[in-house]
Symmetry: C2
Subunit: 329 residues, 2 copies
DNA sequence: TTGTATGCGTTATCAT
DNA sequence: ATGATAACGCATACAA
C-alpha cells in the first residue's frame, strides 16, 4: 500500500500538504491539489485509517455492543444504526456481549482500544457501577434499552413496563381473567419491567396474580415451548397467555398446536417486540411493538449530535410501546 | 488511558520490557514480570490496539462484509463467525455491502485500511475481476457463497444448483408436474444457480419449462407475495411452487392464505435456506437446508489456518444442501 | 499557501 | 534478560 509519503514525493510537495488535501482542513492551492489528487489516483493511495486514528485520536468509527449478532431483534437494530452512519461516512465496529458480564466488558474494552469515537451499548450483564465509571472516563456512549438514573443522559429506552401493561390490559379487555405469563430471565431489566407491567395491569382490574401461572423462560423459542408445556401440565385453567417476547410466543404457539389448543379460541397468545417474523406464525401474532428502528436511529443521531457536532435538535429518549392486534388474541 | 510508558515507569523497567510481558515474545525474569503485571493492574492499563496494529502491522481482527446486517441468514452467519474468533481472542469488524458494488468496495477498503488480518466476504455485486485483483494484493480473504474459479482456493460455497435441483425434484417425486418458480434477482449468482437446478430437475423428468410460471422476485417476503399474486392472476394452473428462499416462501404462503388456497393440498410450497424462522409458517415450511453455521465456522477456520497458522487440517470448501421435509409439500 | 518537525502508543531491531 | 531507539503512517503546531 502506498503511503502519504510516496504520494507527496510523486506530487512534488510535502507530506503535510497531502494530508491537507485529504482532510480539507486548510485551503490548498487549486493547482497543487490537482497534482496531489493525480498522484493519489496513480498510486491507488488509500489512507491508512489505523495511522490516522493513532495520530488524530479520532477513528470515524463507532463501536456497538449487542448481546447477540443473530436474532431478528439485534439484526434490525444493527442494520438501522449502520445505515445512519454509512450515510455520513462513518463506520461501525460490532461486538457481541453474549449476555455475559465478562464478555460485555471485554467487548467494550476492545472497542475502546480501537479508538472508537463513541459506543452504542445494548448490554445486560455489566452492573450500573461499571457504566457509571465508563461515563466518568469521558468516553461518549449511548445505552439502549436500559435506564441507569445516574447517567440518564446516556440512555435511550422503551417503556417496557408500559408495554407489559398494554399486553395484559389487552387480554383483560377481551374478557380474559385467567392469564398465564411466560417471562424472560428476571435478572434482565427489561424482562423484569415487562413483568411488572403485567402485574399492575392485573392489579388495575382488581385481579390477584396466580403465581402458579407464571413461568420464567429464557427469551428463546424453546423457552416458550417448555413454558406452555409446563403451565399446561399443572392442570390449572387459563384462557390467555402473555409471553415476554415474540420468540417465546412462537414457541408457545407451537406447543399449543401440539396440545390441540385452538388459538385464539381456547388460548389467546400475545407476544412482545414485534420482530420481523412475528406475522409468520399461525395465527398471526398479536404483540407489542418495540420500535427498534426508531431507537437505532435515535442512538445514531445522539452520537452524531454529541460527538460529531451535527445540528440535530430532536433527541427522543423514551419511546412508547404500541399494541399491534393481529389474530392470536 | 495509561500508556505502556507509564507502566514501565511505575514498574521501574524499560518500555520494551513491558511490551515483552504483554506479548510473551521472549522470556522475562519472573520477578520483573510480576512487577510489571502489578503496575499494569494498578494503572488499569489496556494496550492501545490501534498503536499495536500500526507498529506490528497486525490487528488481530478479521473484517467481514455481508449484504445486510439484518435478516435471519446473515445474523446466523455473523454470529457463528464471531463465536469462532472470540474463542481465540480475535475480534471481528463487520461492514455491510448492501448488494451494491460501490458500497461493497467501500466496505472492503475500509476493512483493509483498518489493517484487518483477513477478510471474510459475502459480496454479490463486485465483479470477479475485482476479487482477483484483491487476491493479487496478497490480502488473505475467504469468499463465501460464490465461486470464482481463478481464485478457487479462496472460495467456500454451497452447491446452490444442486439445492435447486433437490427442491424441484422433491415436488416432482410427489407427483407435481405444473410447478411455478419464484426466483431471486437473477444477477445474483446464487439465484441463478438455484434456478438452473430447478430447470435441470424439470429436464430430468422430461418436462418442458413453462416460462409463464416463472417470476423474478427480490429474495424478500413482499417479493414472494407479489410473485404468487402475479402467477395466480395469470390464470394458469399449477399445483406447486418453488421459492428461491424462505422469506419469499413465507410471503407466498401469506398470499396463498389470502387466496384461500390450502397448503399443501391445493398448492405445495417449498423454500430454500432453512432460516431460523422457516418453521414459524403455517404449515411449517419444507425447504432446502443451507448450512450457514458450518459455512461460517469453516470460513473462520480457513482464516485461523492460513493466517494465524493454527493446526487445522480438514477444510471443506463445497457444502451440500439438504432437503428438509415439513408440512408445506 | 506550504514545509518542517514532533508526537501518537506500540513493536521490533539493535545493543548491552 | 533488559534497555535504547528506530520505525509504523499519519495529523498538526509552528515556521516560513
Amino acid at each position: 500500500m502506498a503511503t502519504i509519503y510516496e504520494v507527496s514525493e510523486r506530487a512534488g510537495v510535502s507530506l503535510a500538504t497531502v494530508s491537507r488535501v485529504i482532510n480539507k482542513t486548510v485551503p490548498v492551492r487549486e493547482s497543487t491539489r490537482i497534482k496531489v489528487e493525480a498522484a493519489m489516483r496513480e498510486l491507488g493511495y488509500r489512507p491508512n485509517s489505523v495511522a490516522q486514528s493513532l495520530a488524530s485520536n479520532r477513528s470515524n468509527s463507532i463501536g456497538i455492543v449487542v448481546s447477540e449478532l443473530g436474532g431478528p431483534f439485534y439484526g434490525e437494530l444493527l442494520s438501522r444504526i449502520e445505515n445512519e452512519f454509512r450515510a455520513v461516512g462513518k463506520h461501525v465496529i460490532i461486538a457481541a456481549g453474549h449476555s455475559n458480564a465478562e464478555l460485555e466488558r471485554d467487548s467494550i474494552e476492545f472497542l475502546q482500544s480501537r479508538n472508537c469515537d463513541a459506543l452504542i451499548l445494548h448490554v445486560e450483564s455489566v452492573d450500573d457501577k461499571y457504566l457509571e465509571d465508563l461515563a466518568a472516563t469521558g468516553l461518549p456512549f449511548v445505552l439502549i434499552n436500559r435506564m441507569v438514573p445516574s447517567i440518564a443522559e446516556h440512555c435511550i429506552t422503551l417503556d417496557n413496563e408500559q408495554g407489559g401493561f398494554l399486553a395484559t390490559e389487552h387480554l383483560l379487555q377481551l374478557g380474559h381473567r385467567d392469564i398465564a405469563y411466560i417471562s424472560g430471565p428476571l435478572w434482565k431489566h427489561d424482562a423484569e419491567e415487562r413483568y411488572t407491567g403485567h402485574q399492575s395491569a392485573l392489579a388495575s382490574y382488581g385481579i390477584e396474580e396466580d403465581k402458579t401461572l407464571f413461568y420464567e423462560g429464557d427469551f428463546q423459542e424453546t423457552g416458550g415451548e417448555q413454558g406452555l408445556a409446563h403451565l399446561l401440565a399443572q392442570g390449572k385453567k387459563f384462557t390467555a397467555l402473555v409471553c415476554a417476547n415474540d420468540e417465546m410466543a412462537a414457541g408457545a404457539i407451537t406447543a399449543a398446536h401440539e396440545a390441540d389448543l385452538a388459538i385464539p379460541e381456547q388460548l389467546a397468545v400475545i407476544g412482545f417486540d414485534n420482530i420481523n417474523f412475528s406475522h409468520y406464525t399461525y395465527p398471526k401474532l398479536t404483540t407489542i411493538d418495540y420500535p427498534v428502528a426508531e431507537i437505532g436511529e435515535m442512538a445514531a443521531r445522539w452520537v452524531l449530535k454529541r460527538v460529531y457536532q451535527r445540528p440535530i435538535d430532536d433527541l427522543e429518549v423514551l419511546f412508547a410501546p404500541q399494541l399491534i392486534v393481529r389474530d392470536s388474541t
